[in-house]
Subunit: 767 residues, 2 copies
Amino acid sequence: MPKIIRQKIEFEGRLEERDVVIEGEDLPAWSADERFTVVGTAVPRVDGRERVGGTASYTADLFPPGLLHGAVLRSPHAHARIVRLDTQRAERAAGVHAVLSSLNAPKIRWYSGVSWLFDPELRFVGDEIAAVIAEDAAAARDALDLIEVEFEVLPHVVDAEAALRPDAVLVQPTGNILGGAPEQYERGNVQDALGRADVTVALTVHTPDQLHHSMETHGSVAHWSGGLLTVWDSTQHIFGVRRQTAGALGLPLDKVRVLSPYMGGGFGSKNTAGKYTVIAALASRQTGRPVRVFFSRIEESQAAGKRPRSIQRIRVGARRDGTLVAIDYWGLSNVGAYRAFPSPLSGPPKELYACANVRTETASVFTHTGPAAAFRAPGYVESTVALEGAMEALADRLGMDPVEIRLRNYAPTDQVLERSYSSKYLREAYALGARSIGWQHRTPTPAEPARRGERRRGLGMASQIWGGAGSAPAYAEVRMNPDGTAEVRLGTQDIGTGAKTALTQIAAEVLTVPVDRIALLLGDTYFPYSPLSAGSMTIASCGPAVRMAAEEARRHLIDAAASVLEAAAADVRLEGGHFQVAGVPERKIALNELTRRMGNFTITGRGFRGPNPNDVTVRTWGAQFAEVEVDTETGEVKVLKVVACHDVGRVINPMQYTSQIHGGVIQGLGLALSEDHVTDPETGNVLDVGFDGYAVPRQSMIPEIDALAVNIPDPVANNLGVKGVGEPPMIPTPAAIANAVANALGVRILDLPITPGKILEALDQQE
Amino acid sequence: MPKIIRQKIEFEGRLEERDVVIEGEDLPAWSADERFTVVGTAVPRVDGRERVGGTASYTADLFPPGLLHGAVLRSPHAHARIVRLDTQRAERAAGVHAVLSSLNAPKIRWYSGVSWLFDPELRFVGDEIAAVIAEDAAAARDALDLIEVEFEVLPHVVDAEAALRPDAVLVQPTGNILGGAPEQYERGNVQDALGRADVTVALTVHTPDQLHHSMETHGSVAHWSGGLLTVWDSTQHIFGVRRQTAGALGLPLDKVRVLSPYMGGGFGSKNTAGKYTVIAALASRQTGRPVRVFFSRIEESQAAGKRPRSIQRIRVGARRDGTLVAIDYWGLSNVGAYRAFPSPLSGPPKELYACANVRTETASVFTHTGPAAAFRAPGYVESTVALEGAMEALADRLGMDPVEIRLRNYAPTDQVLERSYSSKYLREAYALGARSIGWQHRTPTPAEPARRGERRRGLGMASQIWGGAGSAPAYAEVRMNPDGTAEVRLGTQDIGTGAKTALTQIAAEVLTVPVDRIALLLGDTYFPYSPLSAGSMTIASCGPAVRMAAEEARRHLIDAAASVLEAAAADVRLEGGHFQVAGVPERKIALNELTRRMGNFTITGRGFRGPNPNDVTVRTWGAQFAEVEVDTETGEVKVLKVVACHDVGRVINPMQYTSQIHGGVIQGLGLALSEDHVTDPETGNVLDVGFDGYAVPRQSMIPEIDALAVNIPDPVANNLGVKGVGEPPMIPTPAAIANAVANALGVRILDLPITPGKILEALDQQE
């Protein structure tokens, strides 16, 4: 029976106390010594064949009959006001079915209300002016040139520090800091503690704008049919897109269906509906035809979001034995014109280490650049560069081993909320990682910087803290078919991580059927509600619901088997696809024979993912170690090896765990060494559009990667013991590489990416 | 909690005792004096706008990108063996992607195992030889001519009586009677009773082959993608098509999805998967492209099934007061080459009247003609012509009123199973119908036949008995969305009857929300299992599950509202979309405010349709009255008015009830007067292909129709009190018209359709 509990839940972006209906009691967690046959094994991707073979149909692959194509006219100015807009010539162009703009589109609020779908004030190069919907993509693009726009060009600002000056042009009328003022936190007394410290280290760190560059660009296909709006979207949250699209168009939720059966990457940039989604939906309503609006790779560079560039200052004070006495952290994120949520830069400085005196001040600063979006551990990646750079600098200063200084300041409990962690095996991650990289061979960081002309090797490391408890609610259902196959349905999405495979494994384990006898169906808002796939949350959110649904189906199957076998249900075991009366070997029935006998009387199990525990903090932990070789003649950094060891709770699939480590390390390596999304301060133009201009890591840059895991289930996070591995491998990678470069060179380069030019400049300056 | 019960259920065509899992206790039935605001009102079709406006997407409308088109080569002979088949030229033709035939297709059993998907022995003109799959429909059709076939032409038989002769060519190796021998039934002693009767009447009746001619022809679109076979099918049973297609292709059920979101009529001919379905699926697997195989209107005439022509002999004996003493009934159905289920001709003779001595002998006879399919009350329509013709002839003979003689023989209980009826309001139907048609003005049937040259009017009537209890299992789920809208999901199909609207009304009634705030989603095997939409069963099967799902959602909503309103759940009422604490007017909350406050913690209700009561018989009842005018000069019959009055339990939507009456009357009128699917005995060719050759009723033939209902809920059939109105209006229509013509002319024409030629011939013969 359901029950009502009062629970803090996120609703439309706000945390609110609400009465929620809980479907029932959660299951006790799988214990650490449970024996599994499917969970924990390297099951290949259940949809690998179609993803690799090209038969999987992504949103970008959809070209339904009668499809119209959209193209978007974007602002050429960093800041301007539209003083005249005439779309009539475009409307009359051959093949054009509609032109949407501020002239005719409904006034739909955007960016949490600070702008409009088509805002007459343009705030970055790439801001949307109008959309043309035409018979084919070329006709749509051609007609963009026929739209007449007269701009009043306004002064702009693209630099965060410049945007904070009193005389700066306002990007948003309420001021250039999101929320009006920086976010501040302090525990203890940082000022006093720093004064009493034996040693202090101060660093200034810059991290670049980093682009997500998902293989599938951002886009939607919308189709009205029979009073129902169907949206195919390359998204990380089909239910969120449903809510936002229904809200934008004033539709009831039951008339909107969002699908995302296969999805080609998002990394946080596809957490919400795009303007392209709503444009496609509006245009489909107007034209009565399906409409496709997809980003080109260039638009992907301009308007798809970015990890915002940061400026950070950190000062740590410690006693001579390495014990931290204070952390003073300040950080700015240059979030572009419109970002809606506060910067999470302060997470690691506040929480990673045991320290009585911590102060953070962080701000998201509006500028006339493309809007930031969440990007795989937003804020955490950036501030880990500062924090973990400071820790290694402190170790260097004190002549301590960097692992040793981290252990000296190990936080046994949550320093912010002053409560326990559900599980923490960071110590074990340090030990395993150090052994694999050969940390014992590390030489101390040279006191003098390297000279030009040598090849220098260095070792560096960094720690990681992140959430990953999953979030409630999530629902799932399992239906047994008459032939003993099962369908598992839930409205999550597999954003490329392998969630489909891991969730299949969970159901297969419970039902004791092979994974190929289970269809795991997701990516459809007709399926049970599931939350956002972001923040390493998918398996921790949805997996427990799948397990519970499978367990309910299993209980009902056992009841039915007990009836057929004329035994008490308590005596019936399900093992290896057979129901067996305990102690009576001949009294058994195969699962598929049982379901066959029931015909169309089908067993369905429902599962529910309950709220997180209220009294403990759930975190993932990890450490990464990098070995680099720097050519001081050319300034090139070659990463030789990265060792990653994380505590992410139970590992459902070690192969997929490894894939996540690889992806995170490579994406982090790009931020550390090559990726920088540069905006021309004079014009506000993005200077490195597409894959030609923007240096994602090439194959030649990829190091040996050793993916290790502290594979110990979390006892309370959820009924599976999983936490999550999406973000963790990204977080410490840039910091570890920067620290390794410092260890190699004796000079700490804190302006990422660490390009050859910066290395040579740093070496030259030190000389 | 679920429980296990032992239940007779239909499984793969056989009734078997099985252990089935019942989801829980059924709800008590809605009582007769329940007050409703939505149920019982004339809600317009919820999908009427898109059905009429052309935006509804039927299977026939689907042309996905990359679609290949199939065309089928059919036998030109009524009976032949393929001695050589060469498809190579066709395979090499431009645009051809595949040719499937007995040469290369897997051996897939068809027609319940008596034939193959591609059988080298061909048994009717139109039997499938091969299928070409090509880039477009024209290329596929053209390539059919390139297939070389050499036939050994074999002797054939198209007439049922000829097929029963000892020397007849065998259509099936086991003999030309389905099951080897006629089905026989006897209670009492018919021979003796007829000998003792005061009066006997004997009639010989012929009814024609009748074609279903659904507006949407038979066809499927199949598409393999990512290891999953998706089939869109114009079907009355998506789950049956799933089972049959998976079985034919050797696939597990979880890898097959069948969709039928809109469907353009079936009338029983789309109860199962077609060869076209499996051909499309095989071809899609082979080519990796979506494949469409749809019947042309001509193929619809040849191979889509038919109501089989019948020959019937009936003899009834009665006492002078009209009391029946014996019914002796014999009937043959000419079911073509392959029909798999026994003829249900004997239903009305056995059960409609109280009679101690009844004998029936019926047989389905194989001939070399197109296979029969179920058609809106199969058998019942045909034998009602005989039975009710005999009753009126008996009334004429005894000088009694035809209504009076029926009341004299009113069956208070089930004469076959000797148990009660759950409800029977046939008496009331007689009274209401007689009043509307003006039965009191009926003149006795003239003893002398009419003379040529006059216009003669006549009144006739007939009764109807049919099932309609619905069938188990059926499942449904209701999900509340955060904005208070609801989605109702179930895997039934709306075959054009308006099931979608009626099911929406049931949910709306329970949830007290407007019908336009509910999306009723069906036609997808990803939704909960629902049975075949045939036999008047859809609402009686699925409606109770929808009600139960909505009631569960309602209970959970009340729990949540009670928590918010700080009241006991027992004190909270849901009325008009608001939760209200009894007696405290100010303590209330709107449903959509409650769901909004719960955010994504969504309430879902599940419903289950339990087995039928085991101890009573559930039947629908009805009477129809026809007034005709016969032009004895031209032989033309003009039906002036038909009054239909049926007891089908509770009427959910009177407008849709009326629509069903209209459809059934018109389809019955066609059988009575104009439709006859004629096969040339020499060649086995169908002589009246398409709408040119086959005379479905034209608008000019449609009479005034008065649709009356005995709207009294059945107390035990299911929790709604509904029976079903699909078949009932079809059953008595031909009999009532034939009886009216006899009343007009004084001569009983028993060879349907009653064409002008037959009337003139009969009049001439009587003279």
